[in-house]
Structures are given as C-alpha cells and as structure tokens.
C-alpha cells in the first residue's frame, strides 16, 4: 500500500499546485511510482503546471461516475515513466464527487502506486473535504504572510477535527533579504505560532515562474534554490534526515556569483 498525501493550505495562491508538481516529480526522480490527483474540480491547473494539458481525455469525475476505467484517465508524464496525473474535471464543480468516492479512489490508487499526492483546492468547503478524505498524511503550505499563516492555522484545526493528526508544514516563498531586515516573519516565528512540525522551506525563486511557464517542474533543475529545497523535502518524506537549507540574504556580487555557480 502506498502513502496518500494531501497538499493543502486554506488560502489560495500560496503554492499548493507547484508544491504538488515538484514533490511528485521529486519522488519520480527517485524511481518511485507516483500519481498526482488534481482535486480542484472546476479550476484545474495541475495539468498546465505539469505540461500535460493537451493529453487529457478523461478526468476524475469521469472515473467516479464510471464513464471510463481508472487506468484510462491516468496520464503518463512526458519525462518520467513512473509519474502519472489524474486531472480534475474543468466543466463540473466540487459537488460532483463526495468524500466517500474520493476515499475509494485513493485506496484503489494506493494499491498500484508508491505515492499518491492530492492537490487540494483553496477553501474549506466541499472541495477541501473531498481532497482530505482519502489521505493518510497532510502537508500544509504557507507563506510568511499573516493571511496565509492564519488560514494555515484554521486548516490545522479542521484536519484535527477530521482525525488527520500531525500535519507537516512547508513555508514557501521566503525572501532572505526581507527576513534579514526584519520585514518578513522567519521560520521560527511561524513554527512558534502554528506549533506543528516543519517539513521544509522554499526560498522565493524566479525559476519557479520560468519552469511553470514551460510546464516542467523546477525540481529537475540542478541549480535552482527552490529545486534543491523540494529535493530535500522529498528526501525527508522518505525518512532521510536532511538539514534545513541555509537561506542567506544575497545582496553582494559574490553571493550572486555563488548562486550562479551553485556552491
């Protein structure tokens, strides 16, 4: 039986889909058999982030309604043979599936795959309930902003009341220069407030935008800082003990040079 992990946040736009794509691709790079489920019915995006938008024939709702077999709806990734996507339906809404159906779907997928990752929609309504129902583990993505941290706290409470204990936190889009100036909450501040385990930190990185433009998850890139951060997270999820990456303010010429040559 594989692990079923849900990536959630409460607030929109903090990087759930990007995180799903990168963690999933990261596992595939390690040779694991992975399936990503886009649970954002009506607003699907994981397909474009993965660069698979032109290959969709069937979707999650088709599977649940029995219009096709599960295998027919799975799209194999362009680059990694062990990575698959189950896209969301674009013309339906969150009520097209229920938590029981999602649970069943996850159980079925976990028999064939090492890792099942669910990209949860923003919000706390039906879509959220569907997305978390089949998961055995939850990862919460936040950014160092009051709104995102507040919503993360609400999600922690809701997960707890649904019996999903010990979610892990990813702090996304940290800007070292702002942290250094005291104008952005740092890792310790956020952990102190939310009181949950930290899974990893992702520095704000232009390369994420570039890779999303291309539809190729950043994690495969050998030099980008965010890519290293995602690789570390994947290693931690497999049980490896990886220290947090140092996020240093880089204002000088040498640190920029260092970044270019990645040492």
């Amino acid at each position: 039986m594989g692990d079923v992990i849900v990536i959630t946040s409460g607030k929109g736009g903090v990087g759930k889909t990007t995180t799903t794509a990168n963690i999933g691709t990261g596992f595939a790079l390690m040779g694991k058999k992975v399936v990503l489920i886009d649970a954002d019915i009506g607003l699907r995006n994981l397909d474009v982030v993965m660069g698979l938008e032109n290959r969709i024939v069937y979707d999650l709702v088709d599977v649940v309604e029995g219009n096709c077999r599960l295998k027919q709806a799975l799209i194999r990734d362009k680059r990694y043979d062990s990575l698959y996507l189950l896209p969301a339906a674009q013309t339906r809404d969150k009520n097209a599936v229920n938590p029981e159906q999602m649970k069943q779907l996850c159980t079925e997928l976990a028999q064939d795959f090492d890792i099942v990752i669910i990209d949860c929609p923003a919000g706390i309504e039906q879509g959220f309930k569907n997305a978390i129902s089949g998961a055995s583990q939850a990862i919460i993505v936040t950014t160092p902003e009051v709104s995102a941290v507040r919503d993360a706290d609400r999600i922690i409470g809701l997960l707890e009341s649904e019996g999903k204990h010990n979610p892990k936190l990813i702090i996304n889009r940290i800007r070292p220069n702002m942290v250094k100036k005291g104008d952005m909450m740092d890792i310790d501040d956020i952990i102190e407030i939310l009181a949950i385990d930290l899974l990893g930190i992702i520095p704000d990185d232009d390369y994420i935008i570039i890779s999303t433009n291309r539809g190729e998850p950043a994690v495969a890139n050998p030099v980008s800082a965010a890519s290293t951060a995602y690789k570390n997270i994947v290693r931690r999820l497999t049980g490896e003990n990886v220290p947090l990456m140092k996020i240093e303010a880089n204002d000088g010429f040498f640190s920029r040079l260092k970044k270019v040559f990645n040492f």
Partner: protein, 92 residues
C-alpha cells in the same frame, strides 16, 4: 533626533515582522475559540468542577467569555457564588 535618523535610514523602531507576529497571535486566539464551540463549553464545565469543590456557585447565571482589546485578549468569568463550603482545605 535619533528617531529621525533611524527613519531617514528607513529603520522603523519596530520591525514589521514583529507587528505581523503580534497581530497573528491575537487573531488566532480569537479564531481558535470561535471555530471550536466545544472549547468554551469544555472550559466552563471544567471550571465548574474545580470551583464547586470550594464553593457553591450558580451555574445557570455563570458567564465565561473572551474580551478583546487592541493589544490583548482576556478570559472573563463572572461566577455568582451562593455559599462557601466549610472546612475545605487546600492540601487534601
């Protein structure tokens, strides 16, 4: 004067992240209480249990709530006491 120099160099006396942290702390106290209705009820029940060993209180008119001000949150309990229990010692 020193303040002015600091401001000239763009250094505010409090970092904005400290403001963020403090605001979050307060808003989360509020959120956590309001989003779990069992919380206040559970607290009330436990308070009644503890206080009742020392005095007779009027549970029906007892009030427990949170009071929010700009920079603090306080737990306010108004518990009418009917009678004290005689001979209740602390170290029992």
């Amino acid at each position: 004067m020193f303040d002015l120099i600091q401001r000239l160099f763009g250094r505010d006396s409090t970092c904005s992240k400290d403001v963020a942290k403090e605001r979050l702390r307060l808003v989360l106290v509020h959120d956590r209480v309001n989003t779990s209705p069992q919380f206040l009820e559970g607290l009330k029940d436990d308070m009644i249990k503890v206080i009742s060993t020392y005095m007779d209180i009027n549970e029906d008119t007892m009030e427990v709530h949170f009071a929010h001000t700009e920079d603090s949150v306080a737990l306010i309990a108004n518990i009418p006491v009917n009678n004290m229990k005689r001979g209740k010692r602390l170290a029992e």
